[in-house]
Every structure is written in C-alpha cells, then in structure tokens.
Amino acid sequence: MNEDSKMPDMSVEIAGVKWKNPVTVASGTFGSGIEYADFVDLNGLGAVTTKGVATYPWEGNDTIRVAETTGGMLNAIGLQNPGMETFIERDIPFLNKYDTVKIVNVVGKTLEEYVEAVKMLSGQPVDMLEINISCPNVKEGGIAFGQDPKAAAEVTRAVKEVSEKPVIMKLSPNVTSIQKMAGAVEEAGADAVSLINTLTGMKIDIQKKTFLLANKTGGLSGPAIKPVAVRMVYEVAQAVNIPIIGMGGICCAEDAIEFMLAGATAVSVGTANFHNPKVTIEIVEGIKKYLLDNNIENVNDLIGAVR
C-alpha cells in the first residue's frame, strides 16, 4: 500500500495563492525568517510573513520594549524597521531561496505612506501583502486606521488600487465590533483578513512606581489572549466571505485546529516562536497527525466546521 496515498491534503488557498499547509508566522515575531533558519526549514511553512516594513527606516520606541506577563508578553517595539530599500535588497533575496509563500507586512504613518510602500513592492517576487492597520504602539497611522471602519476601508481601497498582489488587511481586537471592521475592509476590496493583532495592555513596576514599558502601553500577545482571538475569528467568519488568517496565542497544533474550526483558513504562530523556535514545524506536523488520527482527508474540511 502506498503510504503517500494516506497522507491528508494539507494545502489551502487564499485569494488564488496556494499554500502547501495552513501555517505561517505572525508578523514581527520571525523577522524575515533569517534568524529562524537555524531552527526551522522555511520550506516546511505554508508561508512566511515578514516583520512590518515601511517606505523608510523607522527607529521604533525607546527601551524597555518588552515584558513578560503570565502566559503572555507585552511589546512596544514601535515597528522599528530598516525601510523598503534594504528590505528589497536583503530580505526578499533571502526569502526567495525558499519554496514557501512570501507575505510582506506593510506599515505606514499616513495613507500616502501605505500606498508608496505598496508601490515600491511592484515587480518584487513576493506573493501577498498584509497591511498592518492595527499596531497599538505607534502614535500616527497604524491603529488610527484600524479602529475606524471608514478609515480602514479607505486604506484598503487605496492599496488595492496600486497592489499587484492579493491584499490581506490585519485587524485590531481593540475595537467595539471587529465584525464591522472586517465588513468594511471586505466591501473595500480586501482579499483576506488576518486577526487578531495584540490587545493593548500595561504593566507597572511597583518598586520603581513607574510604567514598565517606555511606551507606557504595549500589545499583549501569547496564550493569554487565545480565547479572545478564537471568539473574534468565529465572529468575523460569520460576517464576511473572504478568507481569514487566524492568530493570537497559538502554541501547538491543537490551538491551530481550534482557529480553523472557528473559521480560519490559515493560522499564524507568533509569540510561541520565542518559547520554542521550532514550534511552527511542530504545529504543521501536529495538524497532519490530527487529520490522520481522525480520518480527515483534507485540511479544508476543518475550516469553519464549528458553527
């Protein structure tokens, strides 16, 4: 008997782009993959999602930028990035050595900066763009576009107009109705949505009687936020017809499967990379094993199966 014939189909498709499996990384936790290539064969990932990149280099916030919390962490990096020119010269050629889907996360402080960054990526060998309108740690742009459905729709329309690639809009959980946000970007032409970005949090140093993070607030990530993220993925799946990339505290295959059952077509692994640099590949293998153990032939059968 041919062993391969028993192997479940792990591939998914998002906006016409085929992924070999539904696992990618959450932007900002994996660089462009360079730092993780010692631990993970990037060919084994469905996609690599890069750290956010802007038209020009950003300094980011002052330190302290990170803090551990129970079952999670706060970060206020402030989207430090080397700018598009360096990214195109250094990071894209690195990623192109690998047979995986390349998703570039794009950041901006104004509508014009998002558009310019997307234009700079024209003709580059990348597969999809993820537009970050949900970073809680930069004053201008970012979250300003991510908390107002009209502004989010406006960014979506503007980048769709200039993008050669499918556009994923990354949504913030720090809103009253994430369904409204998802609906607004879908109507404006988004090809997919990814959620959730981090939840705004705070930690206070009781010895120094001051904020622990230089930015005062930071984004909470890690397993502590997972139930919130699963609920939001489920809600958005009920509200839109475009694919969802689910994330928020995924640490193991069981977590990833929860997100898919709630309605995600693919999942992103973020903070868990910091606890185990090999975790992404372990999750791919774990999903495969779950499908085999449960006689499920196609991973797509999981998507939105819980209604």
Binding site: G28, T29, F30, G31, I34, E35, Y36, D38, F39, K51, P57, W58, E59, G60, T63, I64, R65, V66, A67, E68, T70, G71, G72, M73, N75, I77, Q80, P82, G83, T86, G222, P223, C251, T271, A272, N273, F274, H275, N276, P277, K278
Partner: protein, 256 residues
C-alpha cells in the same frame, strides 16, 4: 549558527544566597561558544514564555557552565532544577569577544565584572594570552573570585567593605595602581557609565557587554536594542540589537 537543544542538567548549586551555578552538556554549543556569548534558557513552565538570557561563564570540554542570579519567578524555577532534569536552551547567542584580535592587538587588559557581570569574565580570562588584571565588584558575598586562571591578577571591591577595597571596581582599580591598554567590562549600567568616563579620560579602548530586556533572544523581534552613534548596518537606524549584534560592543559605537 545557533542550536536549540533539550539538554540534561549536570549540576545546579547555589554559590551564595541568590547566585546559582548550572552546568549542562552540549557538544555543538560548547564547540561554538565564545566568551561574552550567552545561552537562552527556557522555563519548563510554559506560562513563562520568554527565554532567560544567561551569559556563558565557562566552557570545559562539552560542558557549559552558566552562573545566574535568582531575580524573579523564572530564575527561581531554574534554581530548583535538579541534576538529571532537562531544560531547553538555545545558544551560543550573541557575538562574544574577539579573543584572537585582543591577543594580537594588545599587550595588557583590565577586565571589569560587576555582580552577574562577573561570569563572562571567567571564560574570557582563560582565553586571553596577554597580561590580565581582573576587577570584581560585589555587594557583599564573593563568588567566582577563585575560578579565574592562575595567570590573572584578581582585585576585589565590595560595597560593604567585607572583602578587598570598600567601594566599586574603579575604587579597586585606584587602590591597585594597575594600568593596561584595553578594558573589557560587564556589569550594571552605572558601573559601565563610570568605566566609560574613565576610559574616555584615559584614552583607552574599551568593550562593554550590554544587558537589555530580551524577548526572542535570537535577533528577530527587535525588543532589545541599544542606541548607536552611527547608523547600524542591520537596522539602518541608530539602534542595534543587543542579543544578535551584541551583547559585546565597542564602547565608542554605542550610547549608554
């Protein structure tokens, strides 16, 4: 090259009230390790997600020795690990000291270690072939002061005056009358700032091991950065990654 391994702890004992000495074996990490580099040690309790960066104190064959202070719940958990139990580690992380360059360029060196900045100086002193004076700063209880190679001259400072010179490492330096071409220092920021002032005034070349709160520990997240004088080659801004481009920096390149 960084290695992520599940290793067996060989030994884990206290040196003082809150300073612990852990040994584990790893062929790959020990072969690649340089003084000044560190190990990311992961907690087995997965509610504590982030690795604890702990500097390499010594490499003996395939055995790595790390010496750390119990400062919070994570290091408290580490201190309770018994020989034979396993932990996950990633290493050797960071750049470390360029020992060959130091041996070829300088004829004498002063090593300054303050508190848990002392451990990396042990391996560094073992690999240096030039005249070495070591200045160790403690609050009160001494540790590792007898673990340096015989060729190194040890000078001790304690804040409470219970051993050596009362005061800090610079007080011990003054008392010793020692002079050298090069400074290598690891310790708390106030100590590094004082040494920076001394190095600048005396026109000496210096290298510092920096500390910063880290998340990934491998250079991906940009959580731990240090301000730089010039634009950094990797980041393209005046920030450099402590975990990947450091923790050892040329004193003239960074702002502390």
């Amino acid at each position: 090259m960084l290695y992520h391994e599940n290793v067996s702890v060989i030994r884990n004992e206290s040196l003082t009230n809150d300073i612990y000495d852990m040994r584990f074996r790893s062929r790959d990490i020990s072969a690649a390790a340089k003084p000044g580099q560190f190990i990311n040690v992961y907690c087995n309790d997965s509610s504590r997600l982030l690795p604890r960066p702990i500097s390499i104190c010594e490499v003996n064959g395939e055995e790595i020795r790390i010496v750390y202070r119990v400062a919070g719940k994570g290091t408290k958990e580490l201190s309770g690990i018994r020989p034979g139990e396993k932990i996950n580690v990633t290493g050797p992380a960071g750049n470390g000291y360029d020992v060959d360059m130091i041996n070829q360029t300088y004829s004498s060196v002063m090593l300054f270690g303050g508190g848990v900045g002392i451990p990396p100086m042990v391996e560094l002193s073992k690999r240096l072939k030039i005249k070495t004076d070591v200045f160790l700063g403690y609050r009160d209880c001494l540790f590792l002061n007898e673990d340096f190679c015989d060729d190194a001259n040890i000078h001790i400072a304690t804040e409470d005056g219970s051993a050596g010179t009362r005061g800090n490492v610079l007080d011990a330096l003054k008392a010793s009358g020692v002079d050298a071409d090069l400074i290598c220092a690891c310790g708390p920021l106030p100590m590094l700032r004082a040494i920076k002032k001394y190095a600048e005034e005396s026109g000496k070349k210096a290298y510092y091991s920096m500390e910063e709160r880290m998340a990934c520990g491998v250079g991906a997240c940009l959580g731990c950065v240090c301000k730089t004088v010039e634009k950094d080659g990797h980041s393209k801004v005046n920030n450099t990654r402590v975990c990947a481009d450091g923790p050892v920096f040329d004193a003239s390149a960074i702002i502390i």
